[in-house]
Amino acid sequence: MESFFSRFKNPLVLIALVLLQVLALAVQVQRPGNGLDGGADGRRVAKLRGWSIAGVVPVERAMHGSSMKVRGVWENYVDLRDARRENAALKQDVDRLREEQAAFAEDAAQGRRLQALLGFKEQYVTSTVAAQVIGTSGSERSKVLTLDKGAADGLKPDDAVITPDGVVGKLRDVYPHSSQLLLLDDPTSGAGVILASTRIRGILRGTATGGVEINNLTADARIKPGEKVVTSGGDMVYPRGLPVGVIASIAPDPTHQPYTAIVVKPMANLARLEEVLVITGTSSTMTPGMAKDAAAAEQTAEANQKAADLSAERLPSLHADAPVTAGAVTGGVAGAPVVSDDAESQVGVVPGIPNSGLPKPKPVVHPDRFSVGAAGPADLLQPGGSASGLMRDDPTVAKPKADGQGGPQME
């Protein structure tokens, strides 16, 4: 017996190590909250994982801090060089966004009224915590990032994590001063989504290849590449209406018939995350700040509407009940106000305001000496001289031919 153990000592040790870990795996998998479904681990496993993370986080934090300092010096220099140009561009953007905000405010107000009528509970993001990504899992198969904020900052497991571009994932395990972010493209990740234009609901999942797919929908001709995907709020993790991505491709799923594999390109760049926002609070009512913004936007929208009404009153061509002359008709139905989309056919047109200019005269079919432009430039005219001579020399004016073509014709 002794010789057996001494002879097979090496393989026996390996078998013992493997068996122990297989048992540990079995225990972890059988317990609810085993972490395989993207949820948090059990208490003991979370403690073990916490020790591993605690060993790594201080070093990651130090490395991140030093790299940020080096990068900061360089970026400050680059930023200063382009600051003036960027500032001008940003001011233009702010003006444009104000206009857009005012335009959306009325729709939003109407939406809120309808939601109130239907008893629908909207979720507003009331509080967020900004966190920095300081590390990764170090494995291609595990799309997990380490954040520098934890329970001490008010974070909890299953808190949604976003960037200004869109949703990136949710918190998996939260430790006192750090947390693990499970990205959308991890195979254990999932999110309830809705297709923005068709309003079809689906479940978004990460794939083994690092992609993101909706694979619980059957073929539907209405679903097209390019359609936006937003969170549905049905998973109780991600608040409703957050942008997730756009549909990149749709193909039959050979391993999962009769469903289709709808590949979604996330809005946020999941491979290059630096800073994220963790949503720590939502509410069914708007925060005072949001209410103030909405009120300001509504006021701007009302002011814009008044200005538009005033312009409409002063411009006779914009009256809906104005008689439509045959010569002015460029399209549309008889009796309706004529609106020309051709901006070049109008003089003094203001971008964004239809029919804000005056109609341009139609080109002359048979020019004669009385036609506009036939007299030639004013500096060639002589006091008391005839304009007809100029007309004869002007090559732009068609001259009557011997056969009668090209000149004025009697009808």
């Binding site: 079995a26 380490t146 083994a208």
Partner: protein, 173 residues
């Protein structure tokens, strides 16, 4: 002709300072966790696997190789969202095989080192596939041959200079 009674295992067996034994895997684990944030392509490289292979072939003790691989793998599991034991088993098996192969081939030879790292990287992928499919029943886990070949090649590229650096810390037992 003079005969030596020292076996090849004894001749080529190396030891390490305890500090190096502890620090080298730790540094590799930290770099593996921190670097891909800045350089995402580094996720193709598996530094903990390379250091497992290095210690296993240098010590030429299958038990030490399996234990070292298991400990490093369990630490890796702690940083991922995998259950504890997935990387532990895979790296333990790799450490055992690396030490066993170390008896048969000259692991100081550059070509042998490259072949060893390339083959063992693929072995690790195979073990991970078996664990995911048979033990965990994870149907989403798929074999990605191209990705695994790229990973194995990347490991070879990194392993050559890394072995050369670590060679300086070994002492003959």
């Amino acid at each position: 002709m003079e005969h030596s009674y020292t076996s090849r295992q004894e001749m080529d067996k190396y030891g390490f300072n305890p500090g190096v034994t502890l620090l080298a895997p730790l540094v590799c684990l930290l770099l593996q966790a921190a670097m891909p944030k800045t350089f995402p392509w580094l996720l193709h490289v598996d530094l903990p696997l390379i250091v497992t292979i290095f210690f296993a072939v240098s010590r030429r003790s299958p038990i030490a190789g399996a234990v070292t691989g298991t400990v490093i793998g369990l630490f890796q599991d702690g940083l991922t969202n995998h259950p504890f034991g997935v990387d532990g088993i895979a790296n333990g098996v790799v450490g055992y095989i690396a030490a066993s192969v170390g008896f048969a081939v000259d692991v100081d030879n550059l070509v042998n080192r490259i072949l060893l790292v390339f083959t063992l990287s693929l072995v690790q992928d195979g073990v991970l596939y078996v664990i995911a499919h048979w033990l965990l029943g994870d149907v989403t886990y798929r074999a990605l041959p191209l990705q695994e070949l790229i990973g194995a090649a990347a490991n070879c590229v990194v392993a050559v200079p890394m072995f050369a650096v670590l060679d300086r810390f070994r002492t003959r037992d």
